[in-house]
Symmetry: C2
Subunit: 273 residues, 2 copies
């Protein structure tokens, strides 16, 4: 691991790192906030389409609340970089900046776009080995909210809690998801369901902690891409405890995320402390 | 005034605006946060070198504290845009993004770079006429901290209070200031002093409110460009009330600014409420 930048922030440090990933076979970057003194737990933040490791750590305003609760956060980049695969840089919703946190099975993406394993195995192990933190939770935004729900629901023993802002909860029925899953996983839709939070809940995947979701009512992607009510209905059928809040007037931006960041960190803090 | 974007944020709105400026003879942009309900007062934020109207409003984490105190903020761009004056875009510390908030007297900058008047007259009037707010304070960062100190000290009756993060307090002795003042004001250094906070205090300019300054000890520009102790010494000679805090380990970035934003908004809130 190489430390690229370090900035004292509240009672801790905002830092930027890179490391050679054995999973993606590329150099991967991530940002962290590390509170001074003992670290009680770690939150993995997964960002949305077009983001890098920078968006969350500069715009979400999380450091104050993490500092107060002695929690660290790690926010990885949203895809491998430095490659030049066919079509990788042609659109904002596929390829670079748009991994959808799956393990691609379609060549040549399958050689590098293993972001599910990168997060759930490599980054997860790195948190334990390099930062010496054992309690880990996961949250994210939009495509990253989808990633957090999927990774958390499939691995309830590894994550203390899950939350999301404006997640894509049923990607197999959303244009963004259909495009990405076709490109990464192929035309056979049976493989898609294991990366769809609503389908996972329907199939019996559960998490012991209450899942917290905030979804702004003025989000321009709500009806077409996010499909929040699909997860709400599935969870209620199988008694997965979930709290979905629809704050009035908020959109899909980091201005919305920052407004409810304290609530999410407080939520995870209950399970991490 | 044209509203470009609006995002609900905490209990209020983050907005982006443009308007034709009669002072700079260009289209000028600014961002605002406007709390819901009655507005108790307005803070003008002046940004530093290379910034636009976006940096503060996306990175400083101010909206929470402004929302709680029913204060608005207005953060203008740091220079005129859309021109192509000789040398205007050649360096980060002169021309576009680097107005230093002076009224240029050297041709052709003097036709447009009237940022002192833009802030202190045009934007000030616009706050009163368009946003109906009568109590106004001013603060800023680095070059913008210099701007806030100079504008506030020269117009104590117009601003309830002044504060700054990492300000350039004695620009006539700093390489950044010397370069900018030579370009905007010419070689005659006697004209420079009226845009230098330390010189203004020495010459008897005072503000009735305590001036608050935060200056990180690990700021890479502290010794060469910011010269904080010069203002400290001048203020103590003339009994200008000033509190200069040197928090240990912080640098020149928005990570530092965000860490102490609440203290500055609380400070101004005392004078604006």
């Amino acid at each position: 691991m190489k430390l690229l930048k370090s900035h004292k922030t509240f009672e801790g440090k905002t830092e930027f790192w890179s490391h050679p990933s054995s999973t993606t076979k590329t150099e991967m970057k991530f940002s962290t906030f590390i509170p001074d003194g003992e670290i009680r737990g770690c939150l993995i933040w997964l960002s949305g389409l077009t983001c890098t490791e920078e968006n969350f750590i500069t715009k979400a305003g999380a450091q104050k609340y993490l500092s107060e609760r002695k929690l660290m956060v790690i926010a990885p980049d949203t895809s491998p970089r430095g490659l030049n695969l066919p079509g990788e840089h042609d659109s904002y919703d596929f390829g670079s900046g748009a991994s959808f946190y799956v393990n691609a099975t379609v060549k040549p993406y399958s050689d590098h776009y293993k972001m599910y394993d990168y997060i759930n195995e490599e980054l997860y192990s790195l948190i334990k080995s390099e930062f010496k933190v054992s309690k880990i939770s996961i949250f994210g935004h939009s495509m990253g909210g989808h990633g957090a729900l999927v990774i958390g629901l499939k691995n309830p023993g590894k994550y203390q809690s899950i939350s999301a802002f404006s997640p894509i909860v049923n990607p197999i029925l959303a244009p963004w998801g259909v495009k990405a899953f076709t490109g990464y996983l192929g035309e056979d839709k049976s493989a898609w369901k294991s990366y769809d939070a609503t389908e996972l809940v329907k199939a019996g995947n559960k998490h012991p902690a209450k899942i917290l979701i905030h979804q702004g009512t003025h989000d321009e992607f709500l009806i077409r891409e996010l499909l929040t009510t699909h997860l709400m209905d599935a969870a209620s059928e199988v008694n997965q405890e979930i709290e979905i809040v629809f704050p009035d007037g908020y959109d899909h931006s980091y201005y919305f995320i920052s407004s409810f960041m304290e609530e999410h960190i407080r939520h995870h803090g209950k399970y991490l402390s």
